[in-house]
Assembly symmetry: C2
DNA sequence: CTAGTACCGTACGGTACAGTACGCTGCGCT
DNA sequence: AGCGCAGCGTACTGTACCGTACGGTACTAG
């Protein structure tokens, strides 16, 4: 199906990035009613060029998702001397960043497209084994949920080494943090519920989530961890 | 757009229910590649009848979602004398039920369709005000997330009155519970990640979530609440 | 037996859109 | 100048599918 002249790490020309930006804009504006003709028009290029570059409608979508996902990266882990204050700050920063990203129009649009793609391909799967790693859903997951896990876990482990956190499994601890941050927000946004998420509110949500997480996994002098 | 000969509370005939069941089956099997012709074939009825009954493709989808959502209801709130044991049991029951539902093929398919519909209608909205209450997304939200909230909040409040729980706002407490139960599971399922959720695992997740929730909002003799 | 009703099966019109073919333009190279 | 190439714009093909129309069938009422 997907010839993909664009390999994973192939550099994108300026022009091609323009195309992807146009795709993203259209995706946000018109939902998944995205047509190749509309992309060509919006990007001032010909359909034939689109097919030459991206091989396929799916290839175009995948390239867009990959490209957008690549720009989510944020500041590196500052591993230097953790005290409780610094750790909480770091976690809050993560939470704020995460909430800011998932409430973005582009993030919502991309997640919706990926979920739609998963719906199309969902039934054919053999049941055993993980989902096709080239699917949009896998890409979004990989660059969203899992990337965040990879970035946060070192922080958690540093916190544990510094005696500030207590947990058995960093993955589990991260998932709890994830749940405390997102709660019902993500699914509501995806389903079209209009939630006001101004920076104020995001900051508040982040502070609450971090407080709760520390209440669960903060290392009290006397208590062990409460995790499963 | 949607003429909907089927009003919200109109009784569905046996035959019509058969059609909706077929829609659901096809939705699970073929993703949102659902065509009216396929439905007619699967339900052994004519397309014309489909249009007469449901007015529209959207109407058919909405009827299916409503019908399926209506069967999520579960046991009533047993308000009789709460002790800590009983409360935890009740919460676990909720969590187990919730996880069981959202990991169902049909639930996933329906959520995906609703999210896809939200994607199509997403950009046209005026921005202010809530989403169209007739949209599939709104229906799913109303019968899923919000129905669960309405059912769980009395339990939480009963727990508070019995001195077992401490929180300021039942809605906020519920959202925390929601986050602790679902964590990253729902979004991963929607995006096509294959997670094994056997009853064993579900029970474990539920127990953990309840433990964490009680750690956050359980009324210790000495401590106030930690909620925001 | 005739008329009416409710429905099945299928054929048809119309439209939207993926993917392809082709002509034309401008640019670098020799 | 002549050649090749990258790419724009557009016209074209094929297909999928929504929504409708129509003929045929079973069943009921009078």
């Amino acid at each position: 199906m997907n010839v993909s002249s664009i390999q994973d790490e192939a550099a994108l020309s300026e022009r091609q990035i323009g195309v992807l930006a146009a795709v993203l804009r259209l995706l946000v504006e018109t939902g998944d009613r995205l047509t190749m003709a509309a992309v060509a028009r919006a990007a001032s290029c010909s359909k034939e060029t689109l097919y030459k570059w991206f091989g396929d409608r799916d290839g175009l979508l995948a390239a867009t998702v990959r490209w957008q996902a690549a720009r989510v990266r944020v500041g590196p882990v500052d591993r230097s001397r953790l005290d409780r204050e610094r750790l909480a700050e770091r976690l809050e920063e993560f939470a704020i960043n995460w909430l800011s990203v998932i409430s973005t129009d582009t993030s919502i649009a991309l997640n919706r497209v990926a979920i739609g793609a998963a719906a199309k391909a969902g039934a054919a799967g053999p049941g055993t084994g993980a989902a096709d790693p080239h699917s949009l859903g896998a890409i979004v997951l990989e660059n969203g949920r899992f990337a965040m896990g990879r970035r946060l876990k070192p922080v958690l482990e540093a916190g544990r080494e510094a005696g500030l956190l207590a947990f058995d499994d960093a993955e589990e601890a991260f998932r709890t943090f994830f749940g405390l941050v997102a709660r019902d927000i993500h699914i509501r946004l995806l389903l079209g519920d209009r939630i006001v998420l101004d920076p104020e509110r995001i900051r508040g949500e982040a502070a609450r989530a971090v407080g709760q997480f520390l209440a669960l996994h903060g290392a009290d002098p006397q208590t062990g961890a409460a995790g499963a």
